[in-house]
Subunit: 163 residues, 2 copies
Amino acid sequence: MLPDYNEHMFKSARVQLIGIIHTPFKEPKGCPIQPFFSSAEGTVEVFPEFRAGLEGIGRFSHIVLVYYFDRSDREDLVAAPYLERRKRGIFTIRSPHRPNHIGMSVVQLVSHRKGILKVKQVDMLDRTPLLDIKPYVPAFDARPKASSGWLTKRLAEVRGAKA
Amino acid sequence: MLPDYNEHMFKSARVQLIGIIHTPFKEPKGCPIQPFFSSAEGTVEVFPEFRAGLEGIGRFSHIVLVYYFDRSDREDLVAAPYLERRKRGIFTIRSPHRPNHIGMSVVQLVSHRKGILKVKQVDMLDRTPLLDIKPYVPAFDARPKASSGWLTKRLAEVRGAKA
């Protein structure tokens, strides 16, 4: 199906560090599995050479952090999600142990000053390498009525426990 | 601020191709800038060696495609968004010409059969290299009331024109 795709060119692609995400979570134990389960604050430090790219970021209430799961040492195709027994396809869960160790989280932007972003609802480990920041735009990114697959039941339980 | 960060280790990180996204858009001209502006259908082809990771994906109505902007040949820090004159910080727009050429789009999942996902609302070029698929979970990813920064006015205009 890929007669003219230049696979070689792509395979040499690298990702570069553009900053560091600082959070209260020094190790996987105790780290929230999603912003949904987190009220923790963190700091996104964008390196000076990339700070020009932040112009205007303060007008967004939420941003998408794209980062590298640098402490994952394996690539699973199926895995049991947090607190679950049954294994699921890796593309139906958010586990860090993925074929490409790329993570993304929607976080609340509290403030921005000189390349340092204060954010809320962080769910990544301290000193996580930052790859990209994207503006969160509800028209592009919010699908509030989407179905949650195997998570539907689990989330209902969590909500019940919170209520 | 990074006394013990092993920067070297991270800088050698690579991303690998796990599949190909097929869309009707052969070139940037005419390619929708976001799923929001697209009703196009596409096909996500996951390579056989990664297909085990798709188990259960069919129960999700939406998925997040993470991909590589392989036809971008530059890294801007500020750029004028599509149809705009004023330049904006790259981290406040979705331009492919970013420090790391990683794209993400929320698309609607229509069907899944043998590693081939039919999706709706695609906004990427044909033969875009796929890096990851994540389940779209409203509890994690939907922030319908988030502010849209500089896009607020622009989106209101688009909606007005559509109405």
